[in-house]
């Protein structure tokens, strides 16, 4: 028996390794990896060089871009000043409405809306494969980031935190095939789920055919998930297909965030926690 085992030990070893990997894959297919001690050690080892090199490249890019921006600076400055004036007026009106909203909510004894604070973070790594869309940021548990926290930019929703270690966090982007976000159409409040489509596109699924959706409609986060603020842009409708079969429309949306130019993000953390 032992001689048989020794003779075929290589085949046994390969079979055991393959069996282990297949079992882990089959069991964990619906789960995301939780960081163990070894994972944290590797992440901590990679963090400093990734951070330094990413910082150097970002600085060099900024320097290069700033130099070329100087060419059109005067014209841009004038345009921005006009825009500031418009925004100041809009801001005054919005403040007025916010105050009114606050008073009315109090009158109707509505529950207080969730408040969020944001933690700025830099991207220090991207998913090593082309198949999954995740990013690695330089902030983690020590900065108050938790699994499930929403990740945003001023343009819109980036994704959500799927695993955290001491000083790093992994974020699943909304364009990943595993990602799904509860969302609604800003104009009509029609509900649906935004799912990743893997190629800088998302699907807005489970929207009934009876709902009035138009190309150009803005899709925003619903705010049902307590760790992700509501009303933040997810994307714009770019294509609608209404098949004869089924109850739902097939809606394609273009994400509000340009993921190829993403360098910094904001992690939304509930201020009550």
């Amino acid at each position: 028996m032992s001689s048989f085992f020794i003779k075929y030990r290589k085949i046994f070893f390969l079979a055991v390794l393959l069996l282990v990997s297949l079992t882990v894959y089959a069991v964990g297919i619906e789960k995301k990896r939780e960081n163990n001690v070894f994972d944290r050690l590797v992440l901590n080892l990679f963090r400093p060089p990734l951070k330094i090199t990413a910082l150097c490249v970002t600085k060099a890019n900024r320097l290069w871009n700033d130099y070329f921006y100087l060419v059109n600076l005067k014209q841009e400055n004038r345009q921005l000043k006009d825009r500031i004036k418009k925004l100041q007026l809009e801001s005054q009106l919005l403040k007025e409405q916010a105050e009114e909203n606050k008073r009315l909510r109090k009158l109707l004894s509505f529950t207080k809306k969730h408040a969020y604070k944001t933690i700025p973070a830099e991207i220090i790594g991207r998913d090593p494969s082309s198949w999954f869309k995740t990013i690695l940021i330089n902030k983690g548990k020590t900065d108050g980031i938790m699994t499930g926290s929403g990740v945003l930019t001023p343009a819109g929703v980036v994704g959500r935190v799927i695993s955290v270690s001491g000083n790093t966090a992994k974020i699943l982007l909304i364009i990943d095939v595993n990602s799904s976000f509860d969302a609604l159409v800003k104009r009509t409040r029609a509900r649906g789920i935004v799912e990743g489509f893997a190629e800088n596109r998302c699907r807005f699924s489970y929207v009934l055919k009876t709902e009035d959706i138009r190309i150009g409609d803005m899709i925003v986060s619903s705010g049902l998930h307590k760790k992700i603020p509501g009303g933040v842009e997810l994307g714009k409708v770019v294509n609608i297909i209404k098949d004869q079969k089924g109850f739902f429309q097939q809606i394609e949306i273009k994400p509000a965030v340009d993921f190829s130019k993403l360098n910094e993000v904001l992690v939304a953390v509930s201020s009550r926690e």
Partner: protein, 172 residues
């Protein structure tokens, strides 16, 4: 032992490049699978036991940074390794051209494994799947001669100087 350390050190460097946010190709969403090149090289140059263990470690390292399900990359890399060992019974891969051909064949194996996993598990759109796969394979294939060349240089240097990693005694 030194050989394994050398492969691990190379794996760390390749993984660093693969994870880096400013990797060429990477910004468009397509990232060359540099670790897969190392898996192919390991399959040709290592013994069955150490090579398989190394592929397991390489897959695990990729999964730490990836959003994939646990075990996914380990399975893909191990299957590629086993296939290479099978091919080694009939062919020899002693030149860069032959290694590049082997890499292409291994991409064929990877294609079938990914097709099974993504198409049936995640219900990936086939058009998107095909596009990503061929772009990734192309980017990897373009970079592979350089990685193979570097691996060969270090390996040859190590053969000439057995104390390369340790005592500093250079035996030429």
């Amino acid at each position: 032992m030194l050989k394994k350390l050398f492969y691990l050190a190379t794996a760390v460097v390749l993984l660093f490049l693969q994870v880096h946010p400013f990797l060429p190709f990477g910004r468009t969403g397509i990232r060359p699978d540099l670790m897969f090149i190392l898996v192919v090289y390991t399959g040709v140059c290592c013994s069955v036991l150490s090579g398989a263990a190394l592929c397991f470690v390489l897959g695990y390292l990729v999964e730490i940074f990836s959003g994939s399900s646990p075990g996914f990359y380990i399975t893909v890399y191990l299957c590629a390794f086993i296939s290479i060992r099978f091919f080694l019974k009939y062919f020899s891969f002693d030149s860069l051209t032959k290694l590049s051909v082997l890499l292409l064949v291994c991409f064929g194996i990877k294609f079938s494994l990914l097709l099974f996993s993504f198409y049936f598990t995640y219900s990936y759109d086939f058009y998107v799947f095909r596009k990503i796969f061929f772009l990734e394979a192309f980017a990897t294939f373009i970079l592979s001669p350089f990685v193979f060349w570097v691996l060969r240089i270090i390996e040859n240097y190590k053969k000439e100087t057995p104390y390369f990693f340790g005592s500093g005694k250079h035996v030429v």
